[in-house]
């Protein structure tokens, strides 16, 4: 897509790409154009990759862009769609936003955040709303508003019923709305999990056409754009508070991000097994055995060096 790149192709590709959501998109013309030259397809894919990178990190990008008065960013909570997914862009966005806060960039300066270290941390967000952060997790209140939360890591929320107040939490690629209940949210990169112990919450995700309501005893797992629902024992919700991690058909990549938090080291998963599902109960302890336990239950290999831990397909 580089040296041999033809600017005409680049421009034509951009025109097709910009038109693809329009009602009058010429799909037959697009097909013919694609068939004319394999480079056309590559050019479209390159644009899709840029588009995705922007979408995924748009909160952080928005915070870095110079303020543009003409752009008139909508007032908070004013419109339905626009800032709905602002926080929903996964750990990339969340971590980068965290960095933006650390650098005291103007737009993010008024955010409030809470970070846990190796232990769990209790956070009283406001009257009737409290959160228990799992180790190495971070919660951000957008603009200091504790009803607008972004989570990277895992947390258990306890929200007293108050119809006048809706809490919104984004984590991974999902968004949770709640009026009053007790539930756990975990989000990292493309993965997210919500498990409800009491009451019910509403969960939206890019992989869902419309939000789903999740009642007590139900869990939702989002892995990339795939969303699965499953029952969960209410006693197992946020079991890390009792020193255990409980999984039922969880994506291995989500398990790995949990383990990374408890070990404080990167845990990566070979793409060949990242979509595998994992079920089992792990004892956290000091966290150092977790990766090995996961590997032995899942039947995968674990490789550890100074850079971190890697889960790989087993030799056989």
């Amino acid at each position: 897509m580089n040296r041999h790149d033809d600017p005409e192709i680049g421009e034509a590709a951009a025109a097709w790409f910009a038109a693809q959501d329009a009602d009058d998109m010429d799909w037959d013309g697009f097909t013919t154009w694609l068939e004319a030259d394999p480079r056309h397809r590559a050019a479209i894919d390159a644009l899709a990759a840029i588009d995705h990178a922007v979408a995924r990190q748009r909160t952080a990008i928005g915070a870095l862009l110079p303020h543009e008065p003409q752009a008139q960013a909508p007032e908070y909570g004013h419109r339905r769609a626009p800032n709905r997914w602002r926080w929903a862009m996964g750990a990339g966005g969340a971590i980068a936003a965290a960095l933006a806060v650390a650098l005291a960039l103007p737009e993010a300066a008024s955010d409030r955040s809470w970070t846990s270290d190796a232990g769990v941390r209790q956070v009283a967000l406001s009257n009737g709303v409290s959160a228990t952060l799992a180790p190495h997790s971070r919660l951000v209140a957008r603009g200091g508003d504790v009803r607008e939360l972004a989570l990277n890591g895992s947390a258990f929320f306890d929200v007293a019923h108050d119809p006048a107040r809706t809490l919104r939490i984004t984590a991974g690629a999902i968004e949770v709305r709640d009026i009053g209940t007790r539930f756990e949210v975990t989000g990292a990169d493309g993965d997210a999990r919500v498990a409800v112990a009491e009451g019910q919450v509403s969960v939206g995700s890019a992989g869902l056409d419309r939000p789903v309501t999740l009642a007590a005893g139900r869990a939702l797992v989002a892995h990339g754009d795939t969303v699965t629902l499953a029952p969960v024992d209410r006693g197992d919700v946020a079991r890390w508070r009792q020193g255990q991690l409980v999984y039922d058909q969880a994506p291995l990549s989500l398990v790995a991000s949990d383990v990374a938090r408890y070990t404080g080291r990167p845990v990566t998963v070979d793409p060949r097994i990242a979509d595998r599902r994992f079920s089992g109960v792990l004892t956290i302890g000091d966290g150092q055995r977790l990766a090995k336990d996961v590997a032995s239950i899942a039947g995968v290999a674990v490789r550890s060096d100074h850079a971190g831990v890697r889960l790989e397909p087993s030799g056989r």
């Binding site: 897509m1 680049g10 590709a13 951009a14 790409f17 910009a18 693809q20 959501d21 329009a22 009602d23 009058d24 998109m25 799909w27 037959d28 097909t31 394999p38 590559a42 479209i44 894919d45 644009l47 899709a48 990759a49 840029i50 588009d51 995705h52 990178a53 979408a55 990190q57 748009r58 952080a60 990008i61 928005g62 870095l64 862009l65 543009e68 752009a71 008139q72 909508p74 769609a81 626009p82 709905r84 997914w85 990339g92 971590i95 980068a96 960095l99 190495h136 493309g190 056409d209 990339g224 990374a260 404080g264 080291r265 990167p266 990566t268 793409p271 990242a274 060096d305 850079a307 971190g308």
Partner: protein, 200 residues
């Protein structure tokens, strides 16, 4: 359009199957993948329960196109994961890397991408940049942007095309693989300062 969205879409799928397939083969460059995607389109419309859809044929193509984009994205994610791992391992071999705080390592990597993307967006021609920000950062639809900027929907589309073409030039990678997931291989943030005309 038949009044029944479900049977209507299925009938349209059957009617336009050949063109859809041709589109998917052209779009993916892979007949097997196109066949899998045809099945995904069918599953998607079977699950569809919303009311009547205005332009069913265009809807089918959009569904197919979005499924392709999902595939491209997933491939990119995998490639990025692989590369991230390779980068970490490489840094380690280089010796001095301080991995006491692995979170900082990840954050640095991500922030670099974010910074680069933000810089590229900030460098867009004014009209295209404004439209791009409203659409991709603030989440406004083309129609909403048209209303806000006082231009036609086609004008917005043109702005978006100019913005995308510029971004691709500015973010162009030295590798041959499309830089998915914000991991642009070139760390120096090379960009072309020459900016061509703005569509307005």
């Amino acid at each position: 359009m038949t009044p029944n969205a479900e049977t209507g879409l299925r009938a349209l799928y059957i009617e336009h199957r050949a063109e859809l397939k041709r589109f998917l083969v052209a779009r993916t460059g892979n007949a097997t993948e196109a066949q899998d995607l045809m099945q995904d389109v069918w599953l998607r419309i079977e699950a569809e329960r919303s009311g009547p859809i205005a332009n069913g044929r265009a809807y089918l193509f959009r569904v197919a196109n979005n499924l392709v984009l999902d595939h491209v994205r997933e491939r990119g994610r995998r490639a990025a994961r692989e590369r991230d791992w390779a980068d970490v391992a490489l840094d380690q071999r280089a010796g001095e890397a301080d991995l006491a705080d692995p979170g900082a390592e990840v954050a640095a990597m991500l922030s670099q991408n974010v910074t680069r993307l933000a810089a590229a967006i900030a460098a867009l021609p004014p009209g295209a940049g404004r439209a791009f920000r409203l659409h991709k950062i603030d989440g406004l639809s083309h129609a909403e942007i048209a209303a806000q900027l006082g231009i036609s929907r086609k004008g917005v589309e043109k702005h978006m095309a100019v913005a995308m073409a510029h971004l691709r030039r500015m973010l162009n990678d030295d590798n041959d693989a499309p830089a998915a997931d914000g991991n642009w291989g070139d760390r120096r943030g090379r960009r072309h300062d020459q900016v061509t005309g703005d569509a307005s």
